[in-house]
């Protein structure tokens, strides 16, 4: 027989225990917070502030002109050091003092005036993405300079492109990272918390109280689920405060939809953690297992670092099996695109389906006996 009172007595007991155990309280509250801060601030997807070395044999007006164009923006490159020999430059590159180097040969300006100006760009290729970016930047600056020169000579340009960024007009990476981090944190923290909820009772032996009492499986699991949900909701509130006031990410869509989809996602990750708790028997194993099972997929397969559409077919399929993928999409749509409910509905429905499947699995696999 289902008694709501029993469900609440489980919740009450869990919350009480949590409030009195300083260590777990700190862990539960501080982990999501610090993850948000560390990832939100620490994770930079852009390449900025690349230290450059310069070896200018020509030392002419034009070589300095090119250089000043490169660093004029101030954000992407800066000149770490000027060199006087190739040997020195070589050393600096080897020791990582500079990540790229410009080498202007003798007669650079002379050759340029002949229309044959050439200089060398040396790039540290140990970090391919960065190397790519350095190359494109330098190329872009040089092309721009070429165009300027051609225009000066009175040549008309047949084709030109005018880009404009939508949804994230200033192309601010920090906003995207912060919102993505919210999804990742909410995939991990509630799952880890609830993964310990049943295991800890198995470890201490108090699980026998549940086994031998007449409390129903459904009541017990619901009580645990609610506990996880409540604690994670509190975390969610704190994370939103960070997002709004610290990262100052502008919300374009509906606040209500944002809350709704977040609460739904918390329920999904709580149910997932609880399911792991049903299977594991030690807290250490449950903790490590849950971390691996949540961290890896939610960072790699959800569009957090790289767009899912640019991954292979297999990866794309994997992504669709991971709830975080849908939540990430919901978050970005609400935050940056202010998508209408109609457009969000399928993803919300999918999350709901995830929740029901996961909770049913809980009910199916949890046995009120040791084996």
């Amino acid at each position: 027989m289902f008694r709501v009172k029993r469900v609440f007595s489980i919740v009450k007991k869990e919350i009480r225990e949590l409030l009195r155990d300083k260590i777990s309280l700190i862990t539960v509250l501080a982990v999501p917070l610090s993850m948000m801060l560390v990832f939100g601030y620490g994770l930079k997807l852009e390449i900025k502030h690349v230290p450059l070395g310069v070896l200018d044999y020509d030392n002419s007006y034009f070589s300095r002109e090119i250089l000043s164009k490169l660093i004029s923006n101030g954000e992407y490159f800066y000149v770490k050091r000027y060199f006087s020999s190739e040997k020195e430059l070589d050393r600096a590159l080897t020791f990582g003092e500079v990540r790229g180097a410009l080498l202007f040969p003798f007669n650079f300006e002379k050759d340029f005036k002949k229309g044959q100006g050439r200089f060398q760009l040396l790039i540290d290729g140990t970090f391919p993405y960065r190397a790519e970016v350095i190359k494109s930047y330098v190329n872009a600056v040089v092309s721009l300079e070429n165009l300027n020169l051609m225009e000066k000579k009175g040549l008309k340009l047949p084709v030109s492109v005018k880009p404009r960024y939508w949804f994230n007009e200033s192309l601010n990476q920090d906003y995207v990272v912060a919102v993505g981090t919210l999804a990742v944190v909410l995939a991990i923290a509630p799952a880890v918390f609830s993964a310990l909820l049943i295991v800890k009772e198995k470890e201490s032996g108090s699980i026998y109280n549940v086994y031998v009492s007449s409390i129903g499986k459904f009541e017990y699991l619901l009580g645990k689920l609610l506990t996880g949900f409540l604690v994670s909701s509190f975390n969610l509130a704190v994370l939103f405060v960070l997002l709004f006031f610290l990262f100052q990410v502008p919300l374009k869509g509906s606040f209500l939809l944002l809350i709704l989809s977040s609460l739904l996602f918390i329920s999904v990750s709580t149910a997932f953690g609880l399911l792991l708790s049903v299977f594991f028997t030690s807290q250490a194993a449950a903790f490590i297992g849950t971390v691996i099972l949540t961290v890896v997929p939610s960072i790699l397969y959800t569009g957090y670092l790289t767009p899912v559409s640019s991954m292979g077919k297999g990866a794309l399929l994997t992504a669709h099996l991971i709830p975080t993928f849908y939540y990430m999409r919901l978050l970005k749509n609400i935050y940056f695109k202010a998508s209408p409910f109609k457009y969000l509905f399928p993803d919300l429905l999918t999350l709901m389906a995830f929740f029901f499947v996961l909770f049913s699995l809980n009910y199916l696999f949890f046995k009120k006996r040791e084996r």
Partner: protein
């Protein structure tokens, strides 16, 4: 409907590779106090869990209140009628919750509400003496109090049938008696009790008992039926007990050398040989009633252990081998050891006796130099504790310092090298000693898969590899059966008596004290009594008089009556133990107007000593 009917029960683990319970049959009748006795790993817990429907059994017939516990759905309503308390101190409690909150949570679990719940809660907490501690977190209670709280919790819904897995293990004797008293009072209310213990001396406290070993039943019935044997038990005192003990092995395989007494069972056909030996060696042999240990020993049979002289220590220690003076050890504001003093003589077996949390382990670690004392002085082998002293010491910790993934031999070689004994020396030593310790077949097996008794021997051997003159053993015999225990004590005795090894040992088994030359009783960090077991018991006997057991159907009424007459008493199931300076006879009881079924002389035990010393201490 009987609470439990069980036939040919079989429970296995690891897909049948480990058999926990095999071919076990028993019946618990309504109103019984049914005791399961056996060492760790005997299969008691598995049986209890199966009875409560927490563990699925493999085969056989098992009915709890007429319902098969393996049938998950049908068994669910039966759970309203039973209560289960798992093994381990306060295992089923929520340590961060207060005493009252724990009880409330159980009430919620079972749907006990309103006034009934408040009334029941108050009654239970008051009878257990926990009412005044109701706001204290469960984790901050003593072991005995935790167990009492566990009882309160599982009794909140008035179950008809209590299943308690080792509720008294590791609990101090005073609390132990209180817990038993509680069980009796519930039993008087009509509750059936199924309880397990690893203490053999608790056997007498139930109405029925079942002795288990290695998953099988050894014997069962009422205590009086179980301990019935053809043989005669004797307690022998002599000037040279060791010589008598040696000779007795020619007659029987049941002699046990305990301190300066020998306990033995003599079968009728050997009685003649025994009397001849007695004449020849002129010792006194007092016939005694056999107890459960005697019976166990007789059923299984003991084995003589003779140690080769390789364990003779190379270093001589002074006459006062270990000196402890006024040692205090505090952790924060908690005093674990509170001003304890004693001196262990060279070649002596010295026991530190007390319940969990009494401070034994802290004390032994302080003496070893693992903790530095807050105040007081310690010397081991005549020197203050330091690096060079550690070479003179062998030590086994409570959890055995063995690596479970290594084989026995690998463990021994490892520990040898820790103490500076070369692997070749260890191997030659092991090849000589393995037969004595009966370890040959286990040498190349992983420690993890060994039975507890074997692990214990390996741990002991690992502490002996460098032939230390002083041996520290922390709870080495917890949970092993009496035969295993005797092998262990024979080794200890040989070491001490033949080679002059000094042994300091801790235990919470009161009856184990008998094996020691002298014991120090500890409770809550303080020394309660010090002396040889015989002296301590004799002292108490002089103060309190002889002990008697009175059989009755109304133990509570009888106890009340005796108490009102000024006697000191203790409840033992449907018996009352009473202490009296004036001899108690049947006529005397009639004269006092005390109703009784049967009267039997009894003994002062180490538990009595502990209980009364602690109580008079308070």
């Amino acid at each position: 409907m009987k609470p439990v009917e069980c036939e040919n029960l079989r429970i296995t683990y690891r897909r049948g590779r480990t058999v926990a319970v095999d071919n076990l049959s028993f019946t618990v009748g309504s109103g019984d106090i049914f005791i399961f006795i056996g060492p760790d790993g005997a299969g008691k817990s598995s049986t209890f869990k199966a009875v409560c429907g927490v563990l699925t059994y493999d085969s056989g017939k098992l009915l709890t209140f007429g319902v098969d516990p393996n049938d998950e759905k049908a068994f669910e309503p039966v759970k309203e009628r039973i209560s289960f308390m798992p093994q381990g101190l306060g295992q089923n409690l929520y340590k961060k919750l207060s005493v009252e909150e724990n009880v409330d949570f159980f009430a919620d679990l079972y749907g006990v509400t309103g006034e009934e719940r408040e009334k029941r809660k108050k009654l239970l907490l008051k009878t257990t003496g926990l009412w005044e501690f109701r706001d204290r977190p469960a984790g901050k209670l003593s072991g005995g109090m935790m167990q009492k709280l566990s009882l309160c919790c599982i009794l909140i819904h008035r179950p008809e049938f209590l299943v308690l897995d080792e509720p008294t293990t590791g609990v101090d004797p005073v609390s132990r008696r209180e817990i038993w008293r509680l069980l009796y009072s519930f039993n008087r209310e009509g509750q059936t009790v199924l309880v397990s213990t690893s203490y053999l001396d608790e056997a007498e406290r139930g109405t029925e008992l079942l002795l288990m070993k290695d998953g099988k039943k050894v014997v069962s019935g009422s205590y009086e039926d179980v301990v019935r044997t053809e043989s005669q038990a004797f307690l022998i005192t002599s000037d040279d007990p060791y010589a008598v003990y040696q000779k007795l092995w020619d007659i029987t395989n049941t002699p046990r050398l305990k301190g300066n007494t020998v306990r033995v069972l003599i079968p009728p056909e050997k009685l003649k040989n025994f009397r001849e030996l007695q004449k020849k060696m002129s010792f006194s042999a007092q016939p005694v009633e056999p107890d459960l240990e005697d019976l166990f020993v007789e059923k299984v049979g003991l084995r003589r252990v003779v140690l080769p002289p390789i364990f003779k220590p190379k270093t001589e220690v002074p006459e006062n081998a270990v000196v402890v003076e006024n040692v205090v050890k505090k952790f924060g504001d908690f005093t674990a050891v509170d001003g304890v003093s004693f001196t262990v003589k060279r070649g002596e077996i010295f026991g530190l006796l007390g319940p969990n949390g009494a401070g034994k382990t802290t004390l032994i670690k302080t003496v070893l130099g693992l903790y530095s004392p807050t105040s007081g002085r310690i010397s081991v082998a005549g020197k203050p504790v330091g690096k060079d002293v550690k070479k003179l010491i062998g030590y086994t910790s409570q959890k055995f310092s063995l690596y479970y993934d290594l084989t026995v031999l690998e463990n021994l070689v490892y520990w040898g090298s820790v103490y500076g004994v070369s692997p070749s020396t260890v191997k030659s030593l092991v090849s000589q000693v393995a037969p004595v310790f009966e370890l040959q077949e286990f040498l190349n097996r992983q420690v993890a898969e060994l039975p507890l008794g074997i692990k214990q021997r390996v741990a002991l051997l690992s502490a002996l590899l460098h032939s230390p003159p002083i041996l520290f053993l922390d709870e080495p015999t917890s949970g092993v059966d009496p035969v295993e225990r005797d092998v262990f004590w024979q080794v200890i005795r040989e070491l001490s008596k033949k080679f002059g090894v000094t042994v300091l040992i801790t235990t919470h088994y009161m009856d184990e004290a008998e094996y020691c030359d002298r014991v120090l009783l500890m409770n809550r960090g303080k020394a309660v009594a010090l002396g040889s077991p015989r002296e301590l018991k004799e002292e108490l006997r002089k103060e309190m008089g002889n002990a008697y057991l009175i059989y009755t159907d109304e133990p509570f009424d009888l106890e009340e009556k005796l108490k009102s007459l000024g006697f000191k008493t203790a409840l033992f199931g449907r018996k009352v133990k009473v202490y009296s300076l004036k001899p108690i006879t049947e006529d005397y009881l009639k004269e006092l107007g005390v109703p009784f079924k049967k009267l039997k002389p009894s003994y002062i035990t180490m538990e009595d000593v502990f209980v009364f010393r602690v109580l008079s201490d308070v």
